[in-house]
Structures are given as structure tokens and as C-alpha cells.
């Protein structure tokens, strides 16, 4: 089976870096970036199965970023993470994500890994 490739986007470097390392330990090849620009850049060079996005990102919301990424890489799946557990966010997130997942920070690594595997 092909290695699952995941792109992590969050403005907290420490968080995404550790998350990527832990997914790596679980056999998932994860790259990470901290800005939207870097994410687009990354998409130019590599293909990913799943993108894990923070809902709140500097200068652009996670949802907008998702739409833009979809246009670059159709067929990519998305998982959202957020520190804000409000119902409104949750509804918006799930509606937008469609079949995608919506996870609350702090994220449980096993369930994240399971979701990613399920999606691919």
C-alpha cells in the first residue's frame, strides 16, 4: 500500500512539527507548514492525500484555504482542527468539510491517524 501523505497547516510551529513526527511514527508521511503561502508552495511540488488545517490562520481562515487548495489539488481530503469549540464553528466546519472531519484541539493522535487512514 502506498504511503499516506498528509500536509499539516497550523501557525504553531511546535505543534505541527511534533504532530508530524508522531504521525511519522504511525507510518503516515506528514509534512508541515505554518502559513497559507507555504501550503500553496508545497502543493506545487508534492501531492498529498489529506490536509489537516487549523480553522484560524493568520490573514486567511482555514475554510478559505481549503477552497483554494481544492482548486489546486482536486480530490484532496480535509480535516479541520480548532481550539474554539463553539457550536457555530462546529456546524460551519462540518458543513464545509462535507465528508471531512472536524477535530477539537488538543487532538488525540490515534483518532487523527485513524481518520486519515479511513479517508484514504
Amino acid at each position: 500500500m502506498e504511503t499516506i501523505r498528509v500536509l499539516l497547516v497550523d501557525d504553531e510551529e511546535d505543534l505541527v512539527a511534533t504532530l508530524a513526527e508522531r504521525l511519522g511514527l504511525r507510518g503516515i508521511d506528514a509534512e508541515w507548514v505554518t502559513t497559507c503561502e507555504a501550503a500553496f508552495d508545497m502543493l506545487q511540488h508534492k501531492e498529498f492525500h489529506v490536509a489537516v488545517l487549523d480553522i484560524k490562520l493568520p490573514r486567511m481562515s482555514g475554510l478559505t484555504l481549503k477552497r483554494k487548495m481544492e482548486s489546486i489539488a482536486p480530490g484532496m481530503k480535509f480535516i479541520f482542527m480548532t481550539g474554539h469549540g463553539s457550536e457555530k464553528d462546529f456546524e460551519e466546519g462540518t458543513a464545509e468539510a462535507g465528508a471531512s472531519y472536524y477535530l477539537l484541539k488538543p487532538v488525540d493522535i490515534e483518532s487523527l491517524a485513524d481518520r486519515i487512514r479511513e479517508m484514504v
Partner: protein, 584 residues
């Protein structure tokens, strides 16, 4: 505590420093002064005016009453005296017409006439008939005056000339005060002769005695040279000269005021008694006459003093009561405002909560991942190989915990309601602290924050908590006005040795000119639908005043708004400490 201090109402020394642009409305001592002055003025002016008029009118009435009473007394007495003398003169005239000279000089006839006169008119002492040569040819009376020669006497010349004569009172041969009345008769068929009678001066005095000139008054007769013809009470015995100016001739009764040689004010009434050398005088001391007036005056003044005192007491009591009530109401208002201010702060904290939650959640998420990674690493077999990596993870966990603690401490510091404490502060750190709460929001909205503090601003003493709330309110306001991608600038510079100025500038939607004047008013808000209470800027205004500063703003719709705060570098702590916060 002294009596005066106990009387001093609570509002007396109260200074409301946080009343904003309406501060003058809350100077209770001033309100009290105004109220007392106005009400006392309105009450006192008519009372004093009426009292003054009454004073004048009563004084004039009493004076005029005295004049008319004196005048009446003089007139009546003159009439009596005049009648007394005329009556006797007419009696003599009747006698000389009724009795021919021969009859009058007949033996015993004159004595009979004298006896009849004494019994009918009274007052006659003796009676004599004087012939044209001045010799007394017949005499009846207690003295031996038969054949006395009067030809060289003044009275004889006058009676021969005028036909009648009334003398002054004099002592004469008999050494007893008396006066002479003489009438001349010119019978058609014989020689002229004179009938001469003497009257006891005592008779005059007896006529005057029953007349009461009033307390301390004097009623007497003087001749035209001012010599007393009757005894007086205060101006000497009979034949003394009165120490008063001789009254000018007047046909009618006169009343005038003068001063006695002793300097006493006198009211003098006088009248010339016609066809006699006599002047009737009534002299009264003004002081005695005005005695009823002094009594009335004392009553008037007592009434006035009592009225003014009671009005003053009522005015003071009512003003103090009302101003105290206003003060109490204002205290409640201030307390309510403090509550609202506190609520505003809590609401700002509520608004910050989302940002803070995110701020805390991020390090928590990191801790979660790091701890998870540590667990992952520990589950691997070669622990020794991963030892350094494990250490790095724990370091990272500790750093994240510290980050959480900092955020929590900052929030707690901000929420804590303390008395105003002045401590050395640095503007830049305060602004950074405030932006620590709102930085994430700015970041997500793409709002650029520029902090430009001139390096020559020294650290100075101010109230950190209040400054933080001031900036937080202004930043919240700016964020509401700014579009995503806008700019928020803090500019600080020293404008003098004593003052520093901080401008908070946004390039947001701005404030319409008609609203600029009202933005600092409580409950003025254009964002009521978005949850604005209209208290933020009003509270900000109060807070700036409390730390001794001033706030103003410039704004252009569509261009942005600039709030300018001026703060003292050396605040006078006392001036600003009277109204320290009590809530919390």
C-alpha cells in the same frame, strides 16, 4: 470632632473627579451656595424693603403727630390766655363806658366795682382811676396808691396814645409779680380818664397749670425779650431769661425744631398772644416725644431679626437637605457607574476570553503533542538513543506551561479590581500587554499594529490597571471601526517636561461630525445592535480624568479616528485620589 465639623454635611468636601464634561454640575458646595444665596435673597429683599418702608412711615407719622399735638396745645392755650386777658379788658371798657368819671370816683363806688369784678371775673388785685394828668384820683385795693403820679411812666404814655395797654409781668412797688391792664375813656362831655387794674400773675400760672404739655414738656409765657412771665420747669424762674432763641413774630401758631444749649433736640411750639407783649411757648424734648417711636422701632427690629433668623435657618436647612439628597442620589449614581464600569471591564474580559482561550489552547495542544511524543518514544525499545530527544520534549512542555501561566497571570491581573495604585510604568509595556490579549485577533484579521514610542519618554508613575483598561477600551473601539487589513498605530511623545501624549490612531470608518461631541456621553452608542453598551468611551473618559489626564479625539468619516491622551509625568496623587474606586 468639633461641633462645626459635626454640622458639616457630607457633600461639603466631596469632589467628583470622574464626572467627565459635566463636572461643574457636581460641585455640591457651589450648588449649596447658589441655593442659599438665591432663596435667602428672594426672601430677605422683600422683608427688608418692607421693614425699611415701615420704619420710615412710622417715624414720619410719629413725628408729624408730635408736631400737630404741640401745635394744638399751643393754639388752645393761646385762645384761653387771650380770652382771659381780653375778657378783663372788655370788663374795664364796659365799666368806663357805663360809669361816668364822677360815679367811679365817688366814695366807695370803686371798692364796690372791684369787689364785683373779683367775685365775677376774679384775678383783679386793685383798681384805680387816673386822670389825664397821670394822677391816680381814685384807688381801691390793698395798697396805698391814692394820688400816685403816673404821668412820667411809659404805660401812661402808651395808654393815652393807644387807648389801651397790657403790661409785662413785673414786681413793682408791691414786690409781687403782677401785670397791668389799662383802658382810656373819652366821654363826649367831659375829660378823658384811664381805668387801671392790676392782675396777679399767679392767675396766668394757674391757667397754665392744668394743661399737661406731656412728659418732660414745658409750658410757659415769655415777653418779647424772652423773659419768663410764668415759672417754667426747665428754663428757670419767673423773670429769668430763657436760654432759647426768641421766636420770630407770626400771627399763627408755629412749631419748629431746635437744640437746647445742652445740645438736646427740642420741639418748640409758640404763639404770639394778640395785643399783648406775651408769647406762649411749649417746649418738649424730642427724646421724650419719640419714646413711643423707640419702642415701635425696637419691636420692628426685633421682628426683623427674628424673621431673618428663622428664614435663614429654614433656607440653610432646606438647602442642606436638598443638596444632601442630590449628593446621595449622585453617590448612588457614582456607585452604579462604578458597577457598570466593573461590568464593562468584565465584559471586555468576556470579549477577550475567545482570544485567551485560543492563546491557552495552543500551548495546551503543544503540551499534548509533546507528551504524546514522549510516550511514543518511551514505547520504543531503544530508549537510550532517544534520551536527548526526550529531554528536548520535556523542555518544550515546560516552556508551553510557562506560556499558559503568563497568559493566565495577565488575565488575572487585568480582572483584579484594585484601588488606584500609582507605580512606575512604561507605556510601551502596557500597550504590549493589552495587545497580548488582542494580538491574535489582529493577526487573524490582518490588522497591522504599530507601536511608535519616542525614546525620550521616561518611565513615570501612573495607574497601571486604569491605563490598561483605557487602552483596551480604545483598542476594542478601533477594532470595531477597522476593516480587515487595517492599521492601528500607537504614537507616544513627550510634549513638555510635565506631560506625555499618546495617540491611538486607526484608519477605520471614522465618526460622523455630529456624533463626535457625544461619544464620551454615557449610553451613547452606534453599535447597540452589536452589543455595545455605550459606556466604553464614557468610562474611558472618567478613567483618564482619574489619573489626572485628558482625552480628546479627531475623526473623519471614512478616513479614521485619532484619540489623543495627555498624561502627567508627575501626577499629583492627592488631587486624583479623592474618589478612588470602592467596588470589587
Amino acid at each position: 470632632m468639633s461641633f462645626l465639623q459635626r454640622l458639616k454635611p457630607e457633600f461639603w468636601d466631596y469632589h467628583d473627579v470622574a464626572s467627565g464634561p459635566y463636572r461643574h454640575l457636581f460641585n455640591f458646595r457651589r450648588i449649596w451656595y447658589l441655593s442659599v444665596l438665591l432663596t435667602a435673597g428672594v426672601a430677605f429683599i422683600p422683608v427688608c424693603f418692607l421693614a425699611a418702608i415701615d420704619y420710615q412711615v412710622t417715624q414720619k407719622a410719629i413725628e408729624s403727630e408730635n408736631v400737630s399735638r404741640t401745635s394744638r396745645l399751643v393754639s388752645n392755650t393761646r385762645r384761653t390766655l387771650s380770652f382771659l386777658l381780653l375778657e378783663r379788658r372788655f370788663a374795664l371798657q364796659f365799666l368806663v363806658r357805663d360809669n361816668p368819671l364822677a360815679a367811679l370816683t365817688a366814695e366807695g363806688r370803686l371798692s364796690e366795682v372791684l369787689k364785683n369784678l373779683q367775685e365775677s371775673f376774679g384775678g383783679f388785685t386793685d383798681l384805680g382811676v387816673v386822670d389825664i394828668q397821670g394822677r391816680q384820683i381814685a384807688y381801691s385795693g390793698p395798697y396805698d396808691l391814692q394820688d400816685l403820679d403816673y404821668s412820667r411812666q411809659k404805660w401812661f404814655a402808651e395808654v393815652m396814645d393807644q387807648g389801651r395797654y397790657t403790661s409785662d409781668v413785673f414786681l413793682g412797688y408791691r414786690q409781687s409779680p403782677h401785670l397791668v391792664i389799662a383802658v382810656k375813656h373819652q366821654p363826649p362831655d367831659g375829660p378823658s380818664f384811664v381805668l387801671r387794674a392790676t392782675l396777679e400773675a399767679e392767675r396766668f400760672h394757674r391757667e397754665l397749670l392744668p394743661l399737661e404739655p406731656g412728659v418732660g414738656g414745658d409750658l410757659f409765657i415769655v415777653n418779647r425779650s424772652g423773659v419768663l412771665q410764668t415759672p417754667s420747669r426747665n428754663f428757670g424762674k419767673i423773670f429769668d431769661k430763657v436760654p432759647l432763641p426768641a421766636p420770630e413774630y407770626a400771627a399763627t401758631t408755629q412749631v419748629f425744631e431746635t437744640k437746647s444749649p445742652g445740645g438736646e433736640k427740642l420741639l418748640i411750639g409758640y404763639a404770639y398772644i394778640a395785643e399783648t407783649p406775651f408769647i406762649l411757648m411749649v417746649v418738649k424734648k424730642k427724646e421724650d416725644l419719640m419714646r413711643p417711636w423707640y419702642k415701635a422701632r425696637l419691636q420692628l427690629i426685633t421682628y426683623l431679626v427674628i424673621s431673618i433668623t428663622s428664614i435663614l435657618i429654614v433656607v440653610l436647612a432646606v438647602s442642606t437637605y436638598l443638596v444632601s439628597k442630590i449628593h446621595t442620589a449622585d453617590q448612588r449614581r457614582v456607585a452604579a457607574l462604578h458597577q457598570v464600569e466593573y461590568a464593562n471591564k468584565m465584559a471586555s474580559i468576556g470579549r477577550l476570553a475567545a482570544g485567551v482561550a485560543h492563546e491557552i489552547n495552543n500551548p495546551l495542544a503543544i503540551i499534548n503533542e509533546k507528551a504524546g511524543l514522549v510516550k511514543d518514544l518511551l514505547q520504543q525499545e531503544n530508549i537510550e538513543a532517544t534520551r536527548s530527544k526526550l529531554l528536548a520534549q520535556t523542555d518544550s512542555i515546560l516552556a508551553s506551561v510557562k506560556r499558559c501561566a503568563t497568559i493566565i497571570r495577565r488575565l488575572l491581573n487585568f480582572a483584579r479590581q484594585t484601588d488606584s495604585t500609582f507605580e512606575p510604568i512604561e507605556l510601551k509595556s502596557i500597550i504590549e500587554n493589552v495587545m497580548g490579549f488582542l494580538g491574535k485577533e489582529a493577526q487573524y484579521r490582518g490588522i497591522s499594529i504599530i507601536i511608535d514610542m519616542a525614546p525620550d519618554i521616561p518611565p513615570f508613575k501612573s495607574d497601571r490597571g486604569k491605563l490598561e483598561q483605557i487602552f483596551l477600551n480604545l483598542v476594542n473601539n478601533a477594532f470595531a471601526a477597522l476593516n480587515d487589513g487595517g492599521h492601528l498605530t500607537f504614537e507616544g511623545r513627550k510634549i513638555s517636561e510635565e506631560r506625555v501624549q499618546i495617540a491611538v490612531i486607526d484608519d477605520g470608518c471614522g465618526i460622523p461630525p455630529e456624533d463626535i461631541k457625544r461619544v464620551f456621553e454615557p449610553f451613547f452608542s452606534t453599535r447597540t445592535k452589536q452589543g455595545g453598551t455605550g459606556l466604553g468611551l464614557s468610562i474611558t473618559y472618567g478613567l483618564v480624568q482619574e489619573i489626572g489626564g485628558a482625552i480628546s479625539l479627531e475623526s473623519r468619516p471614512g478616513k479614521g479616528t485619532r484619540f489623543i491622551i495627555t498624561l502627567p509625568l508627575n501626577p499629583d496623587r492627592k488631587k486624583n485620589g479623592n474618589n478612588s474606586r470602592v467596588v470589587g
